[in-house]
């Protein structure tokens, strides 16, 4: 179990590094897929099977495809043509390292840092529970409907921006 986690973590982080450093954007999008697939495996390890499958459906099936479409539409930047990173990349690297260090320090001071998992109920149907939580008026019915409105806003806005017909 631990070994599996370590392998997955290394895959996720290594491909994430490839995402932010690769010159070829299609390769970067494919590395992103590898990284996100690793995250899906983590979700499955955490007993969140529904989220693992949704991760594959949404990220690999839709978002990655959308990225590749967008890269193809803006193809002039595809090849060579200068550096992938800007001139101040070392400041960014420093800042990211600082962020990581800060986060790690903050987290390690927290009491529950090395907590072990809670007992998992044996006959637990995550999807049904999720459905109940989403439409229960005392829980998340408002976020559920607001998510729909958010999606509609994104749909209308993005179509308006992207289409060249005025």
């Amino acid at each position: 179990m631990t070994i599996l986690f370590l392998i997955i973590a290394i895959v996720i982080l290594a491909s994430a590094v490839m995402v932010v450093t690769t010159r070829n954007l299609v390769h970067a999008a494919l590395w992103l897929i590898v990284s996100l697939f690793g995250v899906a495996v983590l979700f499955a390890m955490l007993n969140a099977g529904f989220l693992a499958v949704v991760q594959v459906v949404v990220y690999i099936g839709a978002i990655a495809i959308l990225f590749i479409f967008a890269v193809m539409l803006t193809r002039r930047e595809m090849r060579g043509h200068g550096k992938p990173l800007n001139n101040n990349w070392w400041i960014s690297a420093l800042l990211s390292l600082l962020t990581f260090g800060g986060l790690a320090m903050l987290l390690s001071n927290w009491d529950g840092f090395s907590q072990t998992p809670a007992d998992f109920p044996s006959d637990f149907d995550g999807v049904a529970e999720l459905g109940n939580a989403l439409i229960d008026p005392n829980q998340f019915v408002l976020p559920f409907e607001v998510a729909s409105i958010l999606l509609v806003a994104a749909l209308v806005g993005a179509v308006y921006i992207a289409s060249n017909r005025k």
């Binding site: 099977g49 990655a64 495809i65 193809m72 995550g126 999807v127």
Partner: protein, 402 residues
């Protein structure tokens, strides 16, 4: 428990005894047994796949009034094996400028995106890889990997035709995925479960009235149409418009890599025929025959899958290719609204009629679908009539002007 009522469990127990006898740990032994089962299943599927090549060629020959393969072996049965040997020893050409790694990954991903569907394929209540409680979404997720493999193949080939074909194919596939996902919600609603076994059990009964095709005939139809588009078969085989983009995304592939694309497509068609049968045509339920034993159930499912595959072939070899703009318009302006309407009506009726007797439930579900279909046809008729009048009006006025 004996070999007839639960063969897999008996064999697994027997293997378990052997392995633990060798001194293997219990967990390791169970993983090993799983692995053996998977390898057997995958090899079985691949052999089935080889036979599908023969079936496809024979059936298309009959559709076109030919004989089909009949030289190698009885009825040409050995023909697909000869084909495979030929593909296997054929020189493999990687075109110049291709992105080698991605170019080689794409065919593997293409076929494994189909193979992993069999992990949740319920051949019988006790013969199933694993009954995921998110089975229906797993189907969609595997389809997402297939889409990815196509775009990878098209992009890595460094060929204009391949890229264009891949883009068209992917645009069509993702578009038709929407009605498919929406329609997949319908069996989920009826069964109250996303698991494939739950859906199969929801359709139990001696008579086939409980099959979801009777509760939602429109759903079954939409699933079939979008499955065909997902497969990229005629009439939706845009990527293979020979006169435009030649062979589409796999134009640069040769030898065994092409072979995997081809085998993957056939297996995909068969698998979707199977899932069509499971989701809408009762799965392993067939006039009580499934009670005889799991092997009979498995035979029933495979038979139904073959029928579904035959329907997909029938459509493929009957209809002509549809232009991409017509195809996308048909999806977005017809299938998507229709599938959402069917979903909403189904959800509403399912709740309103929860306490009604079964006969009332089935009949009202069926007739609600018939009414929706009637209204849809009426709307289409009005629209086409007004469109025709517009065109004819212009034509007649044009005649007057001259």
């Amino acid at each position: 428990m004996n070999l007839w009522t639960n063969p897999i469990q008996v064999i697994a127990d027997w293997l378990m005894q052997i392995f633990t006898g060798w001194g293997l740990a219990e967990t390791l032994a169970s993983v090993l047994i799983d692995l053996i089962g998977i390898v057997f299943l995958v090899v079985f599927i691949l052999i089935l796949d080889v036979m599908l090549v023969w079936v496809e060629r024979k059936v298309v020959a009959r559709f076109q009034d030919r004989l089909g393969p009949n030289r190698v072996g009885p009825f040409g049965l050995i023909q697909p094996f000869a084909d495979i040997i030929k593909l296997f020893i054929k020189e493999d050409i990687t075109p110049e400028g291709a992105d080698k790694v991605i170019y080689n990954i794409a065919p593997v991903l293409s076929v494994s995106s189909v193979l992993i569907l069999w992990a949740i394929f319920p051949l019988a209540p006790v013969i199933i890889g694993v009954d995921l409680n998110v089975g229906v979404l797993y189907l969609v997720a595997a389809g997402a990997l297939g889409t990815l493999s196509i775009i990878m193949a098209g992009w890595a080939s460094n060929n204009k035709f391949a890229l264009l074909g891949a883009f068209r194919q992917v645009a069509a596939m993702i578009s038709y995925e929407i009605p498919m996902i929406v329609v997949l919600l319908i069996p989920t609603i009826f069964a109250g479960s996303m698991g494939m076994l739950g859906i199969s059990e929801g359709q139990q009964g001696f008579w086939p009235w409980n099959w979801y095709v009777f509760l939602s005939p429109l759903g079954a139809l939409i699933f079939l149409i979008s499955a065909i588009a997902e497969l990229g078969r005629a009439p939706f085989d845009l990527s293979e418009g020979e006169s435009e983009v030649v062979a589409g995304f796999h134009i640069e592939y040769s030898g065994m890599k092409f072979g995997w694309f081809y085998a993957g497509e056939l297996l995909h068609a068969f698998t979707f025929g199977g899932f069509w049968a499971i989701l809408f045509f009762g799965g392993y339920n067939f006039f009580g025959l499934e009670k005889l034993g799991p092997l009979v159930s498995a035979a029933i499912v495979l038979f139904k899958a073959m029928v579904g595959y035959w329907v997909i072939m029938w459509i493929k070899y009957t209809l002509m290719r549809i232009r991409i703009d017509h195809m996308l318009a048909f999806n977005w302006k017809f299938l998507v609204p229709l599938s959402f309407v069917v979903l909403m009506v189904t959800a509403l009726l399912n709740t309103l009629l929860r306490d009604a007797p079964t006969a009332t439930f089935i009949l009202s579900m069926f007739f609600s679908n018939v009414i929706i279909a009637g209204i849809t046809i009426e709307i289409l008729r009005r629209r086409s009539r007004s469109g025709r009048e517009k065109v004819e009006g212009q034509a007649s006025s044009g005649v007057k002007a001259t």
